[in-house]
């Protein structure tokens, strides 16, 4: 054996090793920051996701002024904006110099329910009404892109987490059962998994999406998308867990539990699945990007989250036309967020795998 020194704290050991990796920690902090802003999106963002001013369609990012007309440093402010049409009927925005709106903290703005419970109209920052600040520009209907990205993070980031929890529960159980029982049960389950894995994910996603009724409201569509995405993800995991379960079921402590008369399900949950934990954590990290990209892909082509609800995917819908990108480059910012998130999850997953690796080797081997 020789791996007797590893125990319950092998996970702790791996996390200690993780802390040594600066890049991994950096990416993890970015992820934490993103999730934090997603949770408090309604407070942090100056406007709600559907607060629109039609006359500000595609307004460019506001210029923030730190100096007054005489060149003296003042509290930052923005000017009001107005537009004229150029010869191509494109709006050209200009600042209205006699309308000054100062920045403020905890300013009054759109009404919302803080964390969905406490009704309030205070926002972390903003400018005095009726001025509007567009940190990252506005979209076609004059809605603040910065606010919509924060709201969109709620959808996009939570889909990853919820999707991964559903497909992992499914994958762990199915894989655990398949590997533990072996024989015919195993063959049948594995052939089923292979059928799922055979269909290209994107087409399966489209097919499943077309089965969702049109009458669904946005929340139901959100749930449907989560379920669809988890449906695609579980089979691959089930296969890997099954492989580990096959070697783990030979362990003497599993046989001992069986001898005591513990039920099969309890043995799988208590003595088999926990030993796949180190693998699972890595796999979870590496598979979350798939869900985020899946949602983005569906929403981008208009099958996912529907306007006015924001998600990183449907915020990019505008960016599908090259002309729009040329004229209003800021509409690409949501794509940057997707990119960063996906990279961070992959880095964290990779670093974690390296930390677990020496331990994983001991975990995977069967008992002679």
């Amino acid at each position: 054996m020789g791996n007797n020194s590893k125990s319950k704290n092998q996970t702790a050991l791996a996390f200690a090793a993780f802390k040594q990796n600066k890049f991994g920690v950096f990416c993890l902090s970015i992820l934490c920051l993103l999730y934090f802003t997603a949770v408090f999106a309604d407070f942090i963002s100056p406007y709600t996701y559907d607060s629109e001013v039609r006359s500000h369609s595609y307004a460019p990012p506001s210029k923030i002024h730190f100096k007054d007309a005489y060149g003296n440093l003042t509290w930052p402010y923005v000017y009001g904006i107005s537009f004229t049409f150029d010869e191509y009927h494109k709006r050209v925005y200009t600042e209205v110099v006699n309308e000054k709106y100062h920045f403020g903290f905890f300013v009054k703005g759109d009404k919302y329910k803080f964390l969905g419970i406490i009704p309030t109209d205070r926002h972390l920052f903003g400018v005095e009404a009726p001025g509007r600040v567009y940190l990252w520009g506005a979209d076609s209907r004059g809605r603040d892109l910065f606010s919509r990205i924060l709201y969109g993070a709620r959808v996009s980031l939570s889909i990853g987490l919820i999707g991964v929890s559903i497909s992992f529960t499914l994958g762990l159980l199915v894989g655990g059962i398949s590997g533990y029982y072996g024989g015919r049960v195993d063959s049948i389950i594995m052939r089923g998994c292979e059928m799922f894995m055979m269909i290209p994910g994107f087409y399966l996603m489209l097919a499943l999406r077309s089965a969702v009724p049109d009458s669904f409201n946005s929340f139901q569509i959100y749930l449907a998308i989560v379920v669809i995405l988890s449906f695609i993800g579980w089979a691959g995991l089930a296969r890997i867990i099954r492989g580990m379960a096959i070697s783990l079921r030979q362990r003497e402590y599993v046989l001992a539990a069986k001898t005591l008369g513990l039920s099969d399900l309890k043995i799988i949950i208590r003595h088999i699945l926990p030993h796949t934990l180190s693998y699972s954590i890595v796999a979870i990290m590496l598979s979350i990007p798939g869900y985020i990209l899946g949602e983005a892909a569906l929403s981008l082509i208009g099958l996912g989250i529907q306007d006015p609800i924001a998600s990183w995917g449907n915020l990019l819908t505008d960016a599908m036309a090259i002309a729009h990108i040329k004229l209003h480059p800021w509409i690409l910012i949501p794509g940057f967020f997707i990119f960063i998130t996906v990279i961070c999850f992959n880095v964290v997953g990779d670093v974690l795998r390296d930390c677990f690796d020496p331990l994983l080797k001991g975990e995977g081997e069967a008992n002679a």
Binding site: K6, K8, Y253, T259, L260, R270
Partner: protein, 290 residues
């Protein structure tokens, strides 16, 4: 009669492949018949790979069999479904060969024992009562009660084996199978565990099936000894029969090896009659003859 095995066959592998070529199966247990009487410990001896562990796992119904019959405490359990067998299962417990892998490394001693306690018919009213039971069990195997919060890797091989014995004892089994339970321990610790087992038997209504490759160790605990070779029982008799009057050349070899502490060097492979049956030579002393 506590346990009766009738003509047990067990092969591994030998599945027909798609092309119809049949790989030869390993005959791990080949026509074994044994009985274990109440309070009469049976020793099962044989070199590594002869099928001892397989036989033990067959008794525990961890492995299915090709043919044969298992009668435990008057009930035929051969074809009993897992669900039906579960209540009976408590009566046969096992201490495994490798004390390093028979305890889940993620569980504390408390969690390990609690798992067994939760399956006991005796329902404990309170946490404190369970705790009390655990401490008294640990005392029984000469461990102190304050190790409950520790993890298996913090113990020596001997201590782990004691924990494994404590766990097996919780369900008050009638038959305890000890599969090479002391083989991985050094002689001094072996001795302590054997003494412990003797002491436990004095207090409890328990019978041992003691598996080992070392005849000398078996002698300490057992009333009868079965000698196994390549899946077959070659000789069966009381301790005295086997030690004073070994009939089969293989038993004689084992005996020399045990007494002189040297490995057996066999010039030619032993020929075992394929259709051999155990013939009673003197009362209670059997030898295989073809």
């Amino acid at each position: 009669m506590l346990l009766k095995l009738n003509n047990i066959y067990k092969t591994f592998g030998g599945v027909k492949s798609l092309l119809g070529t049949k790989e030869s199966a390993i005959e791990a247990v080949n026509d074994v018949s044994l009985t274990i009487n109440h309070k009469e410990n049976l020793g099962l001896v044989g070199e590594s790979g002869c099928g001892k562990t397989t036989l033990a796992r067959i008794i525990l119904k961890l492995y299915g069999i090709n043919s044969g019959q298992i009668i435990f405490d008057g009930t035929d359990i051969t074809r009993m479904s897992n669900r039906k067998f579960r209540p009976l299962r408590k009566s046969v417990q096992m201490v495994f060969q490798d004390p390093y892998s028979s305890l889940d490394p993620r569980f504390t001693v408390r969690e390990i024992l609690k798992e067994a306690i939760s399956l006991d018919e005796v329902k404990y009213k309170s946490e404190a009562e369970q705790e009390q039971k655990m401490i008294s069990l640990l005392k029984e195997v000469q461990l102190s009660g304050d190790i409950l919060s520790r993890y298996p890797h913090e113990f020596s091989g001997g201590e782990r084996q004691r924990i494994a014995i404590a766990r097996a004892l919780i369900l008050s089994p009638k038959l305890l199978i000890l599969d090479e339970a002391v083989s991985s321990l050094d002689v001094l610790i072996q001795d302590q565990i054997l003494q412990l087992l003797t002491a436990i038997q004095k207090r409890h209504d328990i019978t041992y099936l003691f598996i080992s490759h070392n005849l000398k160790v078996v002698k300490r605990l057992c009333h009868r000894i079965a000698v196994m070779y390549k899946g077959k029982v070659l000789e069966l008799g009381s301790c005295d029969d086997i030690f004073d009057n070994p009939l089969h050349p293989y038993t004689q070899e084992l005996l020399t090896a045990a007494v002189e502490y040297r490995s057996t060097e066999r010039s030619t492979d032993l020929k075992i009659p394929d259709k051999g049956r155990l013939i009673e030579k003197t009362k209670g002393h059997f030898i295989i003859e073809g």
